[in-house]
């Protein structure tokens, strides 16, 4: 019987098969590290007198709680500063490559790995961050792990892993104009629910997926975890190879040819059997936004806030009721009438150059809605430099947005970029959990196009809705 992409990558990394329900021991090709989930792992190594087995397969960056303004000054929050200083000391002591704040290769760990060419098809990639699934866009098996596992990988370069199930997520057809990767993945999560992918590695396939750029594919794989999945993957193809060619860590010469040959063989075999499959019609999709407090509580932008009674499952009814109370929304309200205070464009989901281009394309020549705060945070220092080369920073600043340094920023509100209680955002990030962007803050997850259009009109909307506004608005 044929094997799926995920099974091929798994099989190629088995160091030792587990017997009697014991997990397989898998080799890890790339370990990404940041300041929040690593200090206790290094502490554990030190206490046990262990070292990092493969510093040459390990790389660290500062992203989760770093400020995105005044980065040339000491970090104001003493606790954040302690965490960043601890990472610097640990990397120094154990010999791990670190890209510090202010370094050209600093940025969100899931933006930095791919742009350096360190993420390649067929690899196993781990990081103490659930959005590690991002790297699956290259056909890598990329898993978010906890701090104990970070310590385990540092010490052994392996992880004992329980077997997974496979799920094909097929998106047929062609996405309509204005419908993006973010809308696709929000629709997938709404279909599966936050637990529907549990125990599974999702493989996104179909015509609509094949047509996506690498950056759009990263947006899709990034949010696999929001459906509860262990990972998300897309088979590598010509788009993948073209993206990788010439990146700093991509193979060259004869190595490149050998690599492409092996990458091309990774696609799931035609007779491979998935444990589950869901199919979406890409032609029917439209911009998607969330109304509730988990990423599965989403609807097409043309919809209205649902009533809890519309759900059948009792726990979904209760969750909807609590979500509406927290979000301060009334059933029946058209989603397009929801007014926001803040628009956040950034994060490992939508903080890449194509996202910034898409947003700038909408904002160019338009005026910001009164009273709305707009925060644009590039995913990495390189993305920021590229945007400035293209003049996108000028577009954002003219529009009245704030143009920041790279980091996770308002996606998780660990640094000063936060919502205050009761504030409402349209956010290109990945989680709308209660308090995620600041205690009491209310988050609507959207695509960069919807975020930008919302910044113009002040209420949730897509660029197509702006045609009705007077010129210059």
């Amino acid at each position: 019987m044929g094997r799926t992409l995920a099974e091929k990558v798994w099989d190629a990394h088995v160091v030792r098969r587990g017997a009697d329900g014991e997990p397989d021991l898998l080799y890890i090709d790339l370990h990404l590290i940041h300041e929040v989930t690593s200090p206790q792992a290094f502490e554990g190594l030190r206490m046990a007198g262990r070292r990092v087995r493969r510093t040459d397969l390990t790389i660290a960056t500062e992203d989760h709680n770093v400020p995105t303004a005044d980065i040339d000054r000491p970090i104001a929050d003493p606790v954040s500063r302690l965490q960043v200083d601890t990472l610097r000391r640990n990397c120094e002591e154990f010999g791990v490559r670190l890209h510090r704040l202010g370094d050209v290769d600093q940025g969100i760990v899931h933006v930095v790995g791919p742009q350096l060419g360190l993420t390649q098809p067929g690899m196993t990639v781990v990081c103490g961050d659930s959005h590690t699934s991002t790297h699956g866009a290259f056909g890598a098996l990329a898993l978010g792990i906890g701090t104990s596992e970070v310590e385990h990988v540092l010490a052994t370069q392996t992880l004992p892993l329980k077997p997974f199930r496979t799920m094909a997520v097929t998106v047929n057809g062609t996405l309509p104009e204005g419908t993006t990767a973010k809308d696709v993945v929000l629709a997938v999560i709404a279909r599966l629910g936050t637990g529907g992918g549990q125990g599974h590695v999702l493989e996104y396939r179909g015509e609509a997926i094949r047509a996506l750029s690498m950056e759009a594919r990263m947006t899709i794989c990034n949010m696999s975890i929001e459906a509860g999945a262990r990972a998300g993957m897309i088979a590598p193809d010509g788009t993948t190879f073209a993206y990788l060619a010439g990146l700093p860590h991509a193979p060259t010469g004869a190595d490149w040819d050998a690599a492409v040959e092996s990458w091309a063989a990774l696609a799931s075999d035609p007779d491979a059997v998935f444990d589950a499959e869901v199919v979406l019609d890409g032609n029917e999709l439209e911009p998607f936004v969330t109304w509730g407090t988990n990423p599965g509580q989403g609807l097409p932008l043309s919809g209205t806030v649902p009533a809890p009674e519309e759900f059948t499952d009792p726990s979904a009814v209760a969750a909807a009721r609590r979500a509406l109370e927290y979000m301060d929304l009334v059933p029946g309200t058209p989603l397009r009438e929801i007014a926001v205070d803040t628009v956040f464009i950034g994060s490992c989901t939508n903080g890449r150059i194509e996202d910034l281009r898409a947003a700038a394309g909408v904002l160019e020549g338009r005026t910001k809605a009164e009273g709305v705060r707009v925060l644009v945070v590039p995913g990495s220092a390189k993305v920021r430099l590229q945007a400035e080369k293209e003049g996108l920073d000028e577009v954002f600043l003219r529009f009245g947005a704030e143009w920041r340094q790279a980091g996770c920023s308002m996606c998780l509100g660990m640094n000063p970029d936060q919502l205050s209680a009761g504030e409402r955002s349209a956010s290109t990030s990945n989680r709308n959990f209660e308090g995620r962007q600041g205690a009491g803050g209310r988050t609507h997850l959207v695509s960069p196009l919807v975020a930008a259009a919302t910044a113009v009109r002040g209420t949730l909307c897509s660029p197509a809705d702006l045609a009705q506004l007077p010129a210059g608005r």
Binding site: Q40, D56, S80, R97, P160, H249, A258, R322
Partner: protein, 200 residues
């Protein structure tokens, strides 16, 4: 790691589904660099509300949490497990757990038992009818007993064995260090390395 055979303690009914790790411990509470001291962050947003279950005297000393489905979704932060343990919880029961949270729990000696939702409802009722009721969670025969109820829970054999033996994962893996070395010999040389840093 401390061995887990059986535990008896006050049960806490948490009538919520989709308890994500941002609710278990909000990001602002993640900034410590040690493994202990996270108890103040546990359910920090909910604990500001008078009517939250842990604010009731009878449940304050709880050590067995009985929660709705999809517990531990979202962020991979192991701090969620540390916060539960630092507060005093030894066991979480739910009809469904997020994968990363469950994996993290097993490594820290926090038992996550899967219980049918119908049994969760019965346990909730028993704990609410008599707040402060103790539950006994027995890992040997995988059962929970509480107020005359006796319900089974699921935990996989491997995790159960490690919890009962109190085994450290890294120590177990290092028994196979030769196999790791052999695997490294077979890895294709064209795979990327982070060092040395390329000169750009």
């Amino acid at each position: 790691m401390e061995k887990f055979i059986s535990h008896t303690g006050v049960g806490v009914p948490l009538r919520r589904s989709n308890v994500d790790t941002d609710q278990i411990i909000p990001a602002v509470h993640l900034k410590r660099v040690t493994r202990t001291g996270f108890e103040d962050g546990l359910f920090a947003a909910w604990r500001t509300r008078q009517d939250f279950v842990l604010n009731a005297d009878a449940y304050r000393t709880g050590s067995v949490l009985v929660a709705g489905p999809d517990f531990g979704t979202g962020s991979s932060r192991e701090h969620a497990v540390w916060a539960l343990k630092d507060y005093g919880f030894r066991v979480v029961l739910s009809s469904r757990f997020a994968d990363i949270f469950r994996g993290n729990s097993g490594k820290q000696g926090l038992l996550t038992g899967v219980v049918d939702q119908a049994d969760v409802e019965r346990l909730w009722k028993a704990l609410e009818d008599a707040p402060g009721t103790e539950m006994t969670v027995d890992l040997v025969d995988r059962t929970v007993t509480c107020a005359g109820l006796r319900v089974p829970f699921e935990v996989d054999d491997y995790t159960r064995w490690r919890l009962m033996e109190g085994l450290d994962d890294i120590g177990l893996t290092l028994q196979h260090v030769d196999a790791i070395g052999e695997y490294e010999q077979r890895r294709p040389g064209r795979l990327p390395t982070t060092l040395p840093v390329p000169v750009s």
